[in-house]
Every structure is written in C-alpha cells, then in structure tokens.
Subunit: 721 residues, 2 copies
C-alpha cells in the first residue's frame, strides 16, 4: 500500500504527494479541532471545529408541511495552524514530504524555501483539546522569518459569489456554496509573537476565537527550532478570546516538549487498549491502526458533539452526523475506549427534545425520531425520501446503546437519559407501524427508506423491521424495569416485535429487502458502463428506485448485525443474492458485506470486502476522499475484523468469539476492553486465544464452548458449519 512506511507510519513524498486525496488522508485532529494535511491551495478550507456550524435556511421551490427549514452548515474556521515562513523573502513551496506517525499522531512535513529545507512537526493535543502544537526547524544562519499567522475564515473577507451549479454533475454529497459569507469579524489581535482573531457566525451565534503564539525558540546544533501553540475556542454565550489567550499563556509555560510527552503518553495508553497486530503484514496493520487513529482524532469526546460522516477532515455532507456514527463507529469505541462511546451516546441523549420535535414534524404525535443528518440536533435533511424517511436511525441508536451496555455493563447511562431515549425512540414504531389484519395481524411498517438509498419509500424494509423488533423488545424490557412505561405499553411493544413482518421471497428462498424488491425489474448491469457509477450521479433517483438495485448492503447489513437470526445457509444465500444487485456505491457497504460473508463462513468473499473497506480512503477507491475521510469505512475495517472475522459478540454476560478462516490472514491480534477488563484476542486460522489481563472475572465462549472465566489464556477451535 502506497503510503505505508511501516506498520505505524504513513508517508508520502514526490509524485505521491500530488495525489488528490493526500490533504484529507494526512488530517490530524483531537475530536474538536481537525486540520487537513498538505496539498490544498493556500486559500482552501483547512481547519474545522467539531460542533461549530452556521444555521442556514434551506431553499425549496415546492416546500411542504414538516420540511426541515434550516440546516447546520459546518464551515471551515480561521487557520491558526500554519505559521508564516519566509526564507530570504520567499514563501515556502509545497511540501516535499509528509509523514504521520500513528504511535502518537504527530505529523511532520518538509517544505522547501529559499533553497533550504524547513520541517514542520505538528500535533493536535488529545490532552488539551483547545490546542495545536507546531515545531518548525531550519538550518541556522539563514534569513528565515517564522511568525504566528492567523488567516481569516475562508470566504469571510470578500463575499463569495455563489456559482450557479455547473452543467456537469450534481453531487449531493458535497456541501452547497453560500452566496454571502456568514462570518462577521469581531476582533483582531496582533503583537510580537502572537496573532489572534475572533469571528462570529451571525445566524447560529457561534463565536470562534483562533490564535497562534510563539512559545519557544532555540538552536540545537546547527538547527533552529521555533515552537508555536495554536488554539481554538468556540461558544455561543460566553467570552472566548480572552480565555483562549489565557490557555495559550499556560501552554507557553508548559512548553512544547512537555505537551508532546503528554501526547505520547495519551496515545501509548490508547494503543495499549486497542492493539492491532497482523504478523508479517505491516501495510494491513497500518490500515487498521490508521482507521482507529483517524476515528479517534475525529470523534467528539465532550458529550456535546459526535462524529460527522467525514469527521473534521473535509467539506463533505456539510459536516453532518448520520447513522453511521451510531452503527459503525460507536461499536468500535464501545469495545476499545468506552468513555468515547459513552460521550457519543450522551450527545444523542442531549438531542432527545429535538428528536421529539422532528417526530411531530413528521406527523407522529408520540415518540421521538432522531434526525437523519444534523450537527446541533435538529433535522437538516432537505430530501425526505433519502432522509427523514430513514426511520431505522432510531433502531440504530438503540443498537448502539445496547452494544455499549453489552460491552461495558455500564447501566448508569440508562438513568442518565439513555432509557428515556430508548423508550421514546421505540414509540415511533408503534406510531408508524400497525397490525395488518390482512396479514394475520403481522406488524407492518410501510413507507420508509432503509439504508439502501437506491430503494426509497418502501414497505417492510427487512433491515428496518428486524432492527425495530430488537429495539422494541429492548425498550419494553428496560422501560418496564425502570418504570418508564407501564405494562400495557410494554406489552404492545413486545406484541409488535413478536408479530413483526419480515418479507420473504418464496421463489428465491431468501428474505426480501422489502415487500416490493423482487417485483422490480433488475437493473441492466450489462448495459451500464463503469463511468456510469456511482449511479446516483448519472441517473434520476426515480430511474434508480424503479429497478432492483441497491446502493449498499441493506438486507445484508441485517445479516451482519444479527447473524443469529439467520441460518448458516440463509446467511450465505442472502450475501450471494444481494451481491448480484448491489453496486456498493456507498462506502458503508463493503464492511457489512465482509462481516456477513464471514458470518456465512465465506472467508474469501469476506477478505475481499474487508480490503475495500480498509483501503477506501488510503487508496481513494471512491475518488472522493478529498471531500473528507469516510469514517464509516474506517470503522468498518475494524468491526469486520472483530465482529466479522473473529465473530465477537456478547450473549448475556458472555463474550463470545467464533472465528472463520480468512485467506491471506493467517493470524491477527487485537485488544479490547470488556466490562472494564483488558482482553487480548489472538486468532490463528479459525482458532481464537483470548486472554484477560488483571483480576477480572470474564465469561468467555469460543466457538460455542464456554471456557474458563479467569485471567488465563483460553483457547478453542472454532468451526463454522
């Protein structure tokens, strides 16, 4: 793999640096601040802050009742991360090399200026989320000026002209452009060794303070080192600039080296609880480590933010958070860094009132419906057939909560709003579904969109119905236990779950993706040349909806998440049936297929899809990594390994494994945290060894065999029938 220097270091130089996706690929961040790597133009958006957005009206030519009226638009902020570098009066040229050291997530660039090499070492502090640290090195004795610089928010100086969208291709995955800058300049500071500014997003009211300060300068041998601290602070109702400057002063006192040590320690701890080893395959190791690192650098940890589809690594999707935060990303953290998973749930819980509002807008008089896309909590989707119609988001959040509980045993989350969220979201199913007397009182859920956005507004989406049934049972159980619902309501939930209609195609002997899926004319794949993919950019939505074609794993995702609901042969039949009609135009597809294939015992197919997930961004497989890294694909590369290949899941209180042999992957090792216990898993072929460090009583089951629940090495031969 092109960027792998070894199992821990991503590197690019020469031609490789010209690749379109390098700026996104070398992004670093800390869950609040994100800053892209080298290669973008000087004025290009570069720095994003998680949870900081403008509120923008949504334009509709034909609007209707209940439509989202405004969107949260995440905008690039002032760039306080690049000091000005002048060598003999010349600006630095483009970077000639860049590395990203994943052991502590420090990025190093070399730029050439005035005939000399200048290196820039930079990291975004995980320990102090307001801060970015930068060390610039250059040979002594040259005319080098290195000073703090804060460039204004992109587009804020001159009103940007909204370009009419070109005749070429509408790409709904890119954020719209704005006719006028929403930024208002509040304050500017400049002094010796410091630059700072404050800008206000005038509709949302966020004030963003951005600053950079020189905090050290010395000669080391024949090299001059200059250290900078950059900082960001954003808030709506409190001062930000002065507190930020105080933070910078404190950072100056601490010094670059101490903060680098802090960063090193943070990541040492991080990697110890999320080890990945693939003996003899450094590039594979790197890909999974890269995924974990970038997820961690993107995800909010403050309970007030979560993780956008692209993190803070690009403009894609307006910075919005979607279901993949809950369903793809959260399970990774639930088993590796549970505090992060908990913070993600806390963010969802904080959005419960907005979700209630959304349910009312959608016509449900009870319950809460989480927004399909949002930052601040309100629905921001302007196209409901592939937005609010995706009611499955409620079940996805419930699944995330259930996964968190299974992995951690931390039931306090239920008392702290989790149970209320669980119950309110479950009520939606009773509001939109009903027992159909024409179908023997089966509980049917009509007119929703499943994860497959190439099949919109369908009846009885298999994934939705299966996940809703699980959601209803979970809510009934916990809601009743915590006295949030009465017995009658719990009984209604259980009755709906028990009677849930699952569409089945008798001719093909598989579950149907929805009631009408197999009644559709198959997509003419033979007549569709490669340049016509992804279909969404080349065909009218209705032309796609009319055909039997899936953008992504939908029914297969049900197999991946709920493998026990399907027989062995059914799992395989599902994978093969839907593979024939899936374009994988979504980056969320590959890991679900990989996991489902593994659970079907089809290691070769699983390995293929796993590679797609793992290389989605590293190899820019979809050609749009430049818009930002695909967080779901990154997460999927880890969950495929753990849940798919190793077959990890929790049954009751027992941590279970059931590995399947994966061609080309004779051995791998990963560590997780299970109910507070550090657990190491080593898989060789179809054999798992599981060890628990420390004094924890953990129940382990491997390939269906309970093994000693004690901190010793446990092993069993796994077989997949």
């Amino acid at each position: 793999m092109r960027f792998a220097r070894d199992g821990w270091c991503l590197a690019a130089e020469g031609q490789t640096l010209q690749l379109h996706h390098v700026p996104a690929l070398f992004s670093i961040g800390n869950g609040f601040i994100g800053t892209r790597g080298p290669g973008d133009g000087a004025d290009a958006p570069r720095v994003y802050l998680n949870g900081v957005y403008e509120r923008m009206p949504i334009a509709y030519h034909e609007a209707a009742h209940g439509y989202a009226r405004e969107t949260d638009l995440r905008l690039a902020v002032a760039d306080a991360t690049r000091p000005a570098i002048l060598v003999e009066g010349q600006h630095a040229e483009a970077a000639s090399s860049v590395t990203l050291d994943l052991t502590r997530c420090v990025r190093a660039e070399t730029v050439r200026a005035g005939g000399i090499d200048v290196t820039i070492e930079q990291f975004v502090s995980m320990a102090q989320t307001a801060l970015v640290l930068t060390r610039v090195r250059f040979p002594e004795g040259k005319d080098v000026v290195v000073t703090p610089l804060v460039t204004p928010p992109p587009g804020s100086e001159a009103p940007a002209i909204a370009e009419p969208q070109s005749d070429a291709i509408y790409d709904p995955r890119i954020a719209p452009t704005l006719a006028d800058s929403p930024w208002r300049k509040l304050d500017l500071r400049a002094g010796p060794g410091i630059a700072a500014r404050a800008d206000r997003l005038h509709r949302s009211g966020f004030v963003v303070a951005s600053a950079m300060q020189e905090i050290g300068r010395r000669s080391v041998g024949s090299v001059v080192e200059v250290d900078f601290v950059s900082g960001y602070r954003a808030a709506r109702d409190e001062p930000v600039l002065e507190p930020l400057l105080a933070t910078l002063t404190a950072a100056q006192a601490q010094g670059y080296d101490a903060m680098l040590a802090e960063q090193t320690a943070w990541f040492a701890d991080f990697w110890s609880s999320s080890t990945i080893n693939v003996p003899g395959q450094p590039a594979t190791e790197l890909a999974i480590r890269y995924a974990l690192a970038e997820l961690t650098m993107a995800v909010g940890r403050d309970g007030k933010t979560s993780i956008g589809a692209k993190g803070q690594t690009g403009e894609g999707y307006e910075g919005h958070v979607f279901w993949d935060a809950d369903l793809y990303v959260l399970p990774v953290f639930a088993f590796t860094h549970p505090a992060i998973a908990r913070a993600m749930l806390a963010w969802r819980i904080s959005g419960l009132d907005a979700a209630r509002d959304n349910a009312r807008a959608m016509g449900q008089t009870e319950g809460a419906l989480y927004p399909w896309r949002t930052i601040g909590g309100h629905e921001c989707s302007s196209y409901f057939p592939a937005g609010p119609a995706q009611y499955h988001i409620n079940a996805d959040i419930a699944y995330a909560l259930e996964t968190y509980l299974a992995a951690t045993g931390d039931r306090t989350i239920l008392d702290q709003g989790g149970a209320a969220m669980l119950v309110e979201t479950a009520r939606i199913w009773l509001a939109i579904g009903y027992h159909d007397s024409d179908r023997d009182d089966a509980f049917v859920i009509n007119r929703v969109t499943g994860p497959d956005e190439y099949s919109a507004i369908v009846d009885n989406n298999l994934y939705t119905n299966m996940m809703a049934a699980r959601h209803l049972r979970f809510a009934a159980r916990e809601g009743l236990a915590l006295s949030l619902i009465d017995a009658a309501e719990a009984a209604r939930m259980v009755r709906a779950a028990d009677a849930m209609f699952l569409p089945f195609d008798d001719a093909r002997q598989v579950y149907a993706q929805d009631d009408g899926y197999f009644a559709l004319d198959p997509w003419p794949f033979a007549d569709t040349p490669p340049e016509k993919y992804p279909l969404l950019l080349h065909f009218h939505p209705l032309a796609i909806y009319r055909r039997r074609v899936s953008k992504q794993a939908d029914a297969v995702l049900a197999v991946a998440l709920l493998p026990d609901a399907f027989s062995d042969t059914m799992r395989q039949r599902m994978v093969e049936t839907y593979e024939a009609t899936t374009t994988h135009d979504s980056t969320l597809s590959a890991s679900a297929f990989a996991t489902a294939a593994a659970r079907a015992g089809d290691g070769a197919r699983a390995a293929h899809y796993w590679r797609v997930a793992a290389l989605t961004d590293l190899s820019d497989l979809f050609g749009n990594t430049d818009h930002g890294l695909h967080m779901a694909a990154l997460a999927g590369s880890w969950t495929t390994l753990a849940m798919g290949f190793a077959g990890m899941r929790v049954e009751g209180d027992t941590l279970c494994f059931n590995p399947v042999e994966i061609p080309g992957l004779p051995e791998y090792r990963f560590s997780i945290t299970y109910r507070g216990a550090p657990v190491e898993v080593t898989v060789s072929g179809a054999t798992a060894r599981v060890s628990v460090r420390g004094d924890h009583a953990v129940q382990i089951r491997i390939a269906g065999i309970d093994v000693a629940a004690s901190p010793e090495i446990q092993s069993a031969r796994a077989t997949v029938s």
Copy 2:
C-alpha cells in the same frame, strides 16, 4: 346560488363584493389576455398573458441527476385595462356592483367617485385576441377626468423583497415570490389619449407591449361615454410595440360598437354549439354556462398555448399547464368547439422534443415523457414524487387525442405530429414497465405516482396501468397503420397491453388503487378535525403517503373514463370503497366521482359530487379560488353532465348515450358537435332524445339501442342495470 342573477348573468354587489374570491370569479379573457375582476388592491397582479413567462432557476438544497433546473413562471404583466378615473380630483372607490353577462362575456362595474356613479363596461375581444375594450360612462356636467393608464408590471418598479416564508403554512399550490424583479423596462410612450410601454423578461426574453388608447368620446343624453381600446402583444424575437400601436389605430377606426357587435356575434355562435338548458333551474344553468365561458376565455386557441390549471385568472401554480388540460378540459372542447381541442393538441405536439428531453433526464433512452407542469414545454416540476413520477400524463394526452378523433373524425391531426406524439409517448411504457416472470409475465409498471398525490411512488397504479394499456393499443394500431413503427414493436405494445397487470384485492373484491394500497394503515379520519384539511397543508408528505388515504379520485377516475372495463356492480363497489378513503382535497376529484357514480347508476351520489364540481369556484368551496379559477372543476361540471349523467361516449363511429336518472334534475339539454354535425341532446329522467341538425348521417345509440342515423328526433328509454 349567490351570484346568479338569472341563467345568463353573474352579479355581485354590497357585501357579496367583499368576498375573497370575487376578483377571480369575475375574470374575463380571450385565451391570450386574462384580467381579473374588481376587488384586488390597486397594486395587485391583475392581467396575465397566456404563454408569456419568465424562466427562473429552481433552487435545491440537495439536487440530483435529472432534476428540472428551471421553471417557467407566468408573471402578471403591466395593467393596461384600467383607465384612470378622477372625479373632482378624487380617485374612484372600490366597485359597488359588478355583473358578468355570459351571453357575450361583457363585464360591467359601477364605481363611485366624487359622489357620482361611474360605470365601466369591458370585454376582452374573442375576435381580436390582442384587444380589451372598455367603455366608461358618467353623468355629464361633472369634473371627470378619464384617461388611458398603463401601470408597470407588478414588482417591476422597486425590487421586491423576498419574504422568508412564514412560520404558518407552506402552500405548494401558490407560486413562489421572487427576490428581484425579472422585468426590464424597454420603452415608455405617453401622449394625448394614449399610454404605452414595453417591458422585457430578461431571462426568457419575452418582450411585452402594453397600451391603452382613447378611441371615442361622446354625450348620450345626460351621460358621457368614453371608449378605450387596450392591447397586448408579446414575442421573443420580433418587435411588438409598433405593431401593437398599429393594431390600436385600426381598432380606433373600427370603433367600440363595431367590436362589441363582433363579440356578441362570436358568443352567439359559441352558445349555439354549446347550449345548456336546465328548465326551471337558472342557477344550475348559470353554473354550467359560467364553466364553459370561463374555460373558453382561458384556453389558448393559437396552437402555441394551452390552458393553465388556473387559466389567466390568478397566480396559482405559477401559471403551469398540467394533465387536466388534456383529460378534463380537452374533452369539453372536442365535443363543443373542436377547433379549440385541436389547438390544444397542436400545443402538445409542439412539445414533443422537450418531452423527449424529459424522458432522457428521467433515464429512459427511448420515447417521450411529457412534463408534469410547464408553459414552454420543458418540465418545471421540482418535486418528482408528485411531478415527473406521474407518468400517466402520457396516457392522458393519448386519451385526449383519442377523444378528439372520436368526436371529430379529423385524422389529419395524426399526420401533423399527432401520430408521432402518440407513438413516442407509448414507448415510455415499454421503457419503464416489464413482463415480470414472477407474475406469469404480467406487464408491471413500478414506482410511479398516479393522479392521487397522497400515494406517491407506488407500484402498478390501477389508473396508470389501465390508461397505459389503452394508450399502447391505440399507438400500436395507428403507429402500424401510418408506418411509424414496425410490426415487431407494435406486437410488443399489444403484448404489454394484453398482459397489463391490474391489482385486485381479493378480500374486498375490488381493484386496488395500487399494489400496496390496502396494505396501508387507514387514515385516522375520526381523529382528524375539519381544520386539518386539506391534509397536504397540515401533514408531512410521508405521513400521508404511509396511510390509506387519497387526495382525489384515482381508481375511481378509471371507472369514470373507462366504465366498460368494469361490471355494473364493480363500478358501484369501486365508488363506495374509494369514497371511504378519499378526502377530495383536490378539486379534480368531485367530477370523477360524479361521473363514476352516474355510470354505476347511483344518481344521488352523482348529483352530490356534480354540485361540488359546479360550485367549486362559484361558492369558493376550497377557499382558494382567489388564487385563480379551477379549470378542471369547471370542465368537470360539463363532462359530468354529458359523459356521466347522459352517458355520452363514442363506440366506433357511433355516438352513444345511456342516461341515468339524477334526483333534482328532471330535465336538461345540451348541444354538441359530433363529426361536424350539430347534435342536440335532451334528457328527461332516464330518457334521451337526440336530434341532429342539417344533413348529416350520424349513427346514434341510446341505452344500447341503435336508432335511425338521420336528422330526425331520436329517442329511447335508457336503463341502468
């Protein structure tokens, strides 16, 4: 009925004049110019020109491939129809009375100014479509100044501020407001006795010339009469102002009285071929005559325009032409004034290339798909689930062509583009439907929207499939006869028509509106208070789509149009079944229910719905007549009488009647033109008498009995089993 003075005159005065819908109700026009009646504010839009529109970009927050990029927005033009009237320096007050004489479509207003009454008599010339004639009368010996006046196009003087849409209700049936005026002033003329101007719509390029000239002034007894001619001319690529002024000069030479005589003669001829008599019921007579008059004053007769959903009587629906032009309005003219029906078809034929473009945008590589809404010919719908997804428009146009051929026998329309249009539109069915091997090779048409916009993106909409089958057979027959298609293609069309899938509900023993209609949870009518109607203004579209509820007759429309495809009992069962789930939130619903009920022999139900259709505008039953008259409801009041009550239809070359007894309507008479022959129909109870004037051999069948095809009175007793 409040406005009926007698069977020929609509009148309002006093409180009645304050009613919100008076300005639209007293609209007059000539198919090119339309001008609203009294009651609007001084600056309100008042004059519209058929076929004159601006091209405006359509804003999408999330766009997709194939979406319409621009819309045709019909805008009010300069008002050259109201002379300035000053009495002792005072402007005239609001009108104190208004009448509309339908014998010649002359409107008379009385306004009070400076203590005296001034009357304004006005008509829009049917004979000379550029002209509006006005005669002002006032008592002699007063200080009265009456001069020509042309006020600028609404909104063109100061840029209008686009109001953010209120928090109240989004009404998609109203045109959007514009941020900036699209008008550019080109020329202004003012002189003694004349005012004129020319304005340009800067994106579409239409130049509109508007002028008013005094053409006569005299004393008649103690009354002064001042005559004006107003004129409009619009074009894109030719001069308009000078030719218009020349036309006014010619009009001056002709004089007001001569032009009024011309108008009187035009309408005398008009009424002689579209007589309506309901003995002893002047209000009912008036309602149907009003419908015919307003339709005729709205419909374009030049082959370059058609009829918008609201004609030229208001802002509604951006002035767009929809399917109701073909399916509701055209049959009226096909049987009364065939030249108008032919002109409407010519307009459709002229849009064939744009329809081909639209088919490509929607992903069909063959055939033509007519736009759901348009003025200039291109698709202007920005919401495809209730727009371009309504593929039935193609079949509706084919039905209109078939109706025209049946009524007139004029096959020259086929050679002049009609057959090409017929074949190209039929090809769409082969492109979007297919023979489903899972359903015994039935031809299925998935993912379309039927006329019922409360059930979007459904499979096998009954109406669509039945109409498509008829369309395919018609296209195969004529396409083959005229060598436009080969035998193989014709065979494909016939095979699809023969195998057309018609959804049937075994439990209810009725045809289903679509595959999934009866699988939906019934709408909770009991929990829906009256103020929550129409549903579209109070519920999210998806909340409506999810329920078993129809905005308008959909399956019932199939019964109305194709009664012979259903048994007697099935017709009644269809009406009763769908009545239970139809809100009639569309003004297109009532006449279809009325016709279907009549065809089911249910005269009482038919009478009820007929009254709704006939009074939709006269009694402002939907509360939005102010946005413009509902042309489809007006048309439906006539077609219900002829096709529904009298059971008129053409079988082969035979004109058939099959009247059903209608409570409260013991006798009615109407005249039509059938294959060039003037035909008078008198229905008494369930007995029809048909007479043919002149020397025409017409085959007549009454209640299934062939009667002498000669110009004598024919009669038979009709029975409905």
